[in-house]
């Protein structure tokens, strides 16, 4: 699969190590749509290609929005891109969040750190069809208040009367007057119908595991809990073998999986 050329429309800093890239197709490249939870492979000329979740609005195809951390060679090169630069895009790949299947249920989105980026498209979709869902709860946790992603949007969502938004941080200084504590601790306090809820969790693997456990303790069945897995990826089309996880291939069977598919795997070391 060849990368399709896209132009950088905007590069914006989010937090100290996180940034957002907005890409539009170049002339001759058609715009295409994506599902919440899918990812693209982004190529920086001569540097390399990495998988990055799409974090924009599925209702607004034509611009790809990618929020990612600058942790390696390619992501650091991406951070230095400027408006007008060209990036190669392959995708969208993968199985996304079950937003459609969740109609008629309460929806609990639980995000940890950068995990809010792949969940944001799901929230956009839920809000675009608000009347199709019951309660919508967004629980978000990150390391410190300075690491809160999409802060202004979080405040806007929180201000809505039809969405319950709770934010917590692992540690804080005195200026932070909000919650301090881990994300799973927000589950006990959240209000949703445990027997009619679809939960979508995204964040570091440990955080997802303990959040799923906390949801299970509340009585949410495992098949209604969904997580987004991550592994090394090279081809994104199921051929290179790098993203094998148990019998699953994350680029095709995932990255979104239901928790009952994952249970044995998440607690098996080095699998």
């Amino acid at each position: 699969m060849l990368p399709h050329r896209h132009r950088v429309r905007h590069v914006g800093k989010e937090t100290s190590d996180t940034f957002t890239l907005e890409l539009t197709p170049t002339e001759g490249t058609r715009a295409w749509s994506f599902a919440a939870g899918q990812f693209n492979m982004l190529y920086v000329f001569g540097v390399g290609e990495i998988p990055v979740s799409i974090s924009g609005d599925p209702g607004k195809p034509g611009t790809f929005v990618h929020t990612t951390r600058a942790v390696g060679m390619v992501s650091n090169a991406m951070r230095k891109l400027r408006r007008g630069d060209v990036v190669g895009v392959r995708g969208p790949f993968g199985r996304g969040w079950p937003v459609g299947d969740a109609k008629g249920s309460d929806v609990v989105l639980v995000a940890g750190g950068i995990g809010l980026a792949p969940l944001r498209p799901a929230l956009y979709q839920l809000l675009a069809n608000r009347e199709s869902y019951g309660k919508i709860v967004l629980l978000y946790g990150t390391r410190t208040p300075a690491d809160i992603l999409y802060r202004k949007e979080l405040e806007r969502w929180r201000a809505r009367l039809d969405v319950d938004v709770q934010v917590t941080v692992d540690r804080a200084t005195g200026r932070w007057l909000g919650n301090v504590g881990v994300v799973p601790s927000l589950i006990a306090k959240a209000s949703f119908d445990r027997l009619n809820t679809v939960a979508m969790i995204c964040g570091p693997e440990i955080m997802m595991r303990y959040t799923a456990l906390a949801l299970g303790k509340r009585g949410v069945p495992a098949e209604h809990i969904h997580i987004s897995m991550e592994r090394n990826m090279k081809c994104a089309v199921g051929f290179c073998g790098h993203c094998q996880f148990g019998g699953h291939v994350i680029c095709k069977d995932g990255p979104v999986f239901s928790y009952d598919q994952m249970k044995g795997l998440l607690t098996t070391r080095e699998i």
Partner: protein
């Protein structure tokens, strides 16, 4: 609000669920209402610990202060949660500061009073210890997750 009015408030609290009516009465005998303004300390590190708080409204930050690191919030305790376990185990003093971050209303239970009653009524004592063990377990698990610093990707 009279002391008698506290019984239904305590009875419906999930932490004290399934305590017998008699035991609830014993607790009510040690209970009173309390209120903290935003920024007010609930207790200070080093002070004698003779109470625990059932938070009814608001939020309390458990804090630690040092010259090197300034003030750090370890966790916050909010509506429906329990604050304070140092009253249970000698030498009965607070290990951290606790400060209300917003207007907070709580029911405070007198630790000395409760300890005496638990000595006299071991069933009450066992029931309370069971419940506090559960809280301690949750806090420990949460603390361990915080220690893991899962959001930090520096190798």
């Amino acid at each position: 609000m009279t002391v008698h009015d506290l019984k239904p408030i305590l009875a419906e609290h999930p932490f004290l669920k399934d305590l017998s009516s008699g035991h609830l009465d014993l607790l009510v005998g040690c209970a009173s209402n309390v209120r903290f303004e935003a920024g007010q300390f609930v207790f200070r590190e080093g002070e004698e610990a003779n109470a625990f708080y059932v938070i009814r409204q608001g939020r309390v930050a458990v804090e630690v202060f040092s010259a090197a690191k300034g003030q750090i919030t370890i966790e916050t305790v909010g509506e429906g949660e329990i604050l304070g376990w140092s009253w249970l185990v000698p030498p009965y003093y607070w290990h951290f500061d606790a400060r209300a971050t917003e207007l907070t209303r709580a029911v405070v239970l007198d630790g000395k009073c409760l300890r005496t009653k638990c000595e006299q009524d071991h069933e009450l004592g066992y029931g309370l210890l069971q419940r506090f063990a559960s809280i301690l377990m949750q806090r420990l698990e949460a603390t361990r997750l915080q220690l893991l610093d899962v959001y930090d990707t520096r190798a």
